[in-house]
């Protein structure tokens, strides 16, 4: 059982009205924004379950867009995020999907298109009390919360990848809290997710990218 801090009880400090539908939505979008390298030109939010039914009344739409603009849960600019996104030239849209019901009730899938034309899709879930997790990246099932410093490495499923990543980390004295590999099928694209209690040095990302089977490296720094 994860421990509960004083500030899990008296907190989070947040823009209302709902910890799961507003604060959680901000947190998911902010994580996704951090995962996406470079600038975002266009974003589409696909809402499922309770998110799809009640997003307007809970400000889930403004919260998601606010997170995409880099705001945290207590940032009062969230209320004006439509206008702020327009000012920044960020195109956005909200789509509901009430056909797919085999998902957590508070699920959103975020489709991002970068200024350079790159595309990424990430699915996040708001699990209650403002806590969230990322459950899918580009169609591959993953599972992490962003509460630790998190490295997400996209690579080909190839022998020795885990050893390579672990060596790069150990050479820089980064202690691994959790490490998991997710893949669709043998030999295809895989994601390795490394969570650490410490700050992960930027230079490590360059080193990881040197490997020919590594396609991309993303970092969420706590």
């Amino acid at each position: 059982m994860p421990s509960i801090s004083i500030f899990d009880v008296i907190g989070p400090n947040m823009v209302g009205p709902s910890s799961s539908h507003t604060a959680g939505a901000v947190a998911i979008a902010l994580l996704v924004r951090k995962l996406f390298p470079g600038s975002v030109k266009e974003v589409e939010f696909v809402l499922y379950g309770s998110f799809a039914r009640t997003y307007k009344g809970h400000g889930t739409d403004r919260a998601l867009l606010g997170g995409m603009l880099g705001f945290e849960t207590h940032d009062l600019r969230i209320k004006n995020s439509f206008k702020l996104a327009e000012e920044q030239g960020l195109t956005y849209s909200f789509v509901t999907n009430e056909k797919e019901t085999e998902v957590h009730p508070n699920t959103v899938e975020i489709h991002l298109t970068g200024s350079d034309g790159s595309f990424m899709s990430v699915r996040g879930v708001s699990v209650g009390g403002g806590k969230v997790k990322i459950v899918k990246i580009n169609g591959v099932d993953v599972d992490f919360t962003g509460e630790y410093s998190t490295l997400v490495i996209r690579h080909l499923d190839y022998p020795g990848m885990v050893a390579y990543i672990a060596t790069c980390l150990s050479e820089r004295n980064v202690n691994i809290a959790f490490m998991r590999l997710y893949r669709e099928k043998k030999g295809a694209t895989a994601y390795s997710v490394v969570e650490s209690d410490e700050v992960i040095p930027q230079e490590l990302l360059e080193k990881l990218r040197e490997h020919e089977k590594v396609e991309d490296v993303m970092l969420i720094q706590v």
Binding site: I6, I10, G11, M14, G16, P17, T22, K56
Partner: protein, 291 residues
């Protein structure tokens, strides 16, 4: 230093001759490696946000996103200022501030979830009223917030504070238990009196369902927060007067969860039953979703 029940918490208070708030701060230091200064700064910031949310809608009332609430706190304040309150100054202020925080919450303003956003008016409502009425200082109230967090932690750990899981008794009920214990400590109660006040608060709100109109955190959430604060006040009063509770806090937490599990799905934040299913609520829901 850690504890997983009210009984263990009371034992630690006794062994160390200290208050619940002191134990909770010690736990935070040992579990998270935070310094007492950091912890104090974060709680001060939380209380600053709470106070601001209590005051803001009194001068600048704004309608909620769903349009179901807005301006209620100002009405109660104005009536009190005219000398017409039938509740007396203390309770009238607690009502005013609890209403106010929910107005801020429902209009996308800044609040502190305590323990949830839907129950965020209870603690600030009661504690700011106490501070003003008894000319206390912020430090005394902040001590009370640590005591409240110990109660909230035990409910989160051993039951739930999610309306979707256990109904409003788990949200406003938990907030009310937290506020009752905080008020008891602030007004000089012993750790046992704090636990008794919290236990009584859970007894009184046991079985309360979560039935938000149109699924929004507006109605009946706002007036439920008021009942949470009022309930906390009377429970603290009883406990400080030396009234003991038959049922210990830990057993009330367990039974709250058992009752929560037997609350039907329609009455656990789905907006399918209770107040949300009344004719008046359905009519408003249709209006809201047409826009």
């Amino acid at each position: 230093m850690d504890f997983i029940s009210g009984q263990e918490l009371l034992q630690l208070c006794e062994e160390n001759s200290c208050r619940i708030s002191d134990i909770m701060i010690q736990r935070e230091i040992s579990e998270y490696g935070a310094s007492s200064e950091e912890i104090m700064e974060r709680m001060k910031e939380a209380y600053r946000i709470m106070k601001e949310a209590c005051h803001k809608p009194l001068d600048e009332p704004v309608p909620s996103i769903g349009g179901l609430i807005g301006g209620e706190a100002k009405k109660v304040r104005d009536r009190r200022r005219q000398g017409k309150s039938i509740c007396g100054s203390m309770l009238s202020k607690a009502i005013t501030y609890s209403l106010a925080v929910l107005e801020v919450n429902a209009s996308m303003g800044l609040i502190v979830a305590a323990p949830t956003a839907g129950s965020s008016g209870v603690l600030p409502g009661l504690l700011l009223a106490l501070e003003e009425e008894f000319s206390l200082d912020d430090e005394q109230i902040i001590d009370g917030l640590f005591t409240a967090s110990a109660i909230g932690y035990l409910i989160m750990r051993n039951a739930s504070v999610a309306g979707a899981q256990a109904g409003c008794q788990a949200e406003v009920g938990a907030a009310s238990a937290m506020a009752a214990a905080a008020a008891a400590q602030i007004m000089g109660g012993t750790p046992q009196q704090c636990m008794d006040a919290a236990s009584a608060a859970l007894v009184n709100l046991l079985g309360l369902v979560c039935d938000p109109v149109a699924g929004l955190v507006e109605c009946p959430c706002q007036s439920r927060n008021v009942i949470g604060a009022s309930n906390a006040l009377v429970c603290a009063e009883m406990s400080l007067a030396g009234i003991r509770q038959l049922i210990p806090f830990d057993q009330m937490v367990d039974t709250m969860m058992t009752v929560g599990r037997s609350i039907p799905f329609e009455l656990r934040e789905t907006a399918l039953g209770g107040c949300a299913a009344t004719e008046a609520a359905c009519a408003r829901t249709c209006q809201i979703f047409k826009n």
